[in-house]
């Protein structure tokens, strides 16, 4: 109510109505502020802010790109590593197979040689035995005949003598 009454008052001391000199100074100040800010003071700050935003965005983009490249590189290395591992395993398997084949071959060859040598030895042994037997037989026959002739004064007939010797040899042979 007071304010309304005051507003109705005329004169320079009215607290409600705007004073001319204050409007003038306010207008000068505000328009100067608006123009100088918009044309001179504001653009560099705005530009710096935008530049910084762009710079940070650019750095983020570059980092993302670098990360993607690194991931790609890693994937490629990993695939190469896996390939190398498979290759190595394959080579080892192959070597193992070859070694196994060589081993088997060598064993087979040795087995064959061994068998041959064994057969040879057995054959040699049999031949030697045969020879020794024949020798022994002839010597024994001579010895037996001589001994018999000396012991028994009378000589035996040929057929009976041969039979006697054979019987003796058989006995000797079965006992060895």
């Amino acid at each position: 109510m007071n304010l309304l009454l005051l507003a109705a008052e005329e004169g320079p001391n009215n607290p409600i109505l705007p004073a001319t000199n204050e409007i003038i100074w306010g207008a000068i100040s505000f328009f100067l502020l608006m123009v100088v800010l918009a044309k001179v003071a504001y653009p560099p700050v705005r530009k710096a802010m935008e530049d910084r935003t762009a710079k940070i965005q650019g750095e983020f983009d570059a980092a993302d790109k670098a990360r993607a490249e690194a991931a790609e590189l890693k994937a490629s290395y990993e695939s190469k590593l896996a390939e190398a591992r498979t290759e190595a395993a394959r080579i080892i398997d192959e070597a193992r197979e070859q070694a196994e084949a060589v081993r088997r071959e060598r064993i087979a060859a040795l087995d064959a040689e061994l068998a041959e040598r064994k057969a040879q030895a057995e054959a040699d042994l049999a031949a030697a035995r045969e020879r020794a037997l024949a020798e022994t037989r002839s010597q024994l026959a001579g010895l037996a005949v001589g001994a018999a002739e000396r012991i028994v004064e009378d000589s035996l007939d040929e057929a009976r003598y041969a039979k006697l010797v054979d019987n003796f040899i058989d006995r000797v042979g079965s006992s060895t």
């Binding site: 004073a19 204050e22 505000f30 100088v36 800010l37």
Partner: protein
Amino acid sequence: MIFGLEFPPIEKLVEWPSFFGGDAWYGLNKIGLSALIAMVLTIAIYLAAGSKYKKRLVPTGIQTVAESGIEFIDSGIIDQTIGPEGRSWNPFLLSLFFFVLITNLFEVVPGWQMPGNARMAFPALLAILVWFIFLVTGIRYQGAGYFKNALFPPGVPWPLYFLVTPIEFVSTFLVRPFSLAVRLFANMLAGHILLVTFVVLSEALWIKQWYAVFLPLPFIMLVLLTGFEIMVSFLQAYIFTILAGVYIGSSMHAEH
């Protein structure tokens, strides 16, 4: 005289003699000087901030103030009222915000203690400027259709236009600048009177009488209200600027 208190008449609280020029139209008083200081200070902040970027791009000190002002107008006002396409309004709204804020803050500057906007001159000037700008913007963006859209909002049954159109006319073209100016002016004047009241109370109790023990009560209130008025200064500057944004935004986009 109320209970022995000498409360000065309101015109004494807001009238300031000119430093020069007397009662002439160019008389410069405390109010006019607060406007000049607001202008110089704002320009100085932005010039100082702008000159520092050559050395480093990371903001420090004054650059933070300048950048938060711009950021605040961008995200707090333009994005909310006009939309991101209205970023070119930033310098104007920024000027408006800093001008109102600094002239308001003179309310609590020791030795000054007078908000520039507790006088009708600046609020009226700025409100009329905003009114003019949103009218021109409306015509620029929508042509004559701006008045049609503003006075005959689409989607209203035609008989209602008899009611709606006068209301829209009064609220958009007459009340807007008036309410914008009065809101700022009345809030700052009320705050100023409130502070003066507690100053007068505190001063009256500064005596050699037993009731001087009550002196801390109005003084504590005075301190608290000074803090409150700082908040009001920011709030009123924000409200004035965001309403300017709302009006400009409503002129740029036809209402749906």
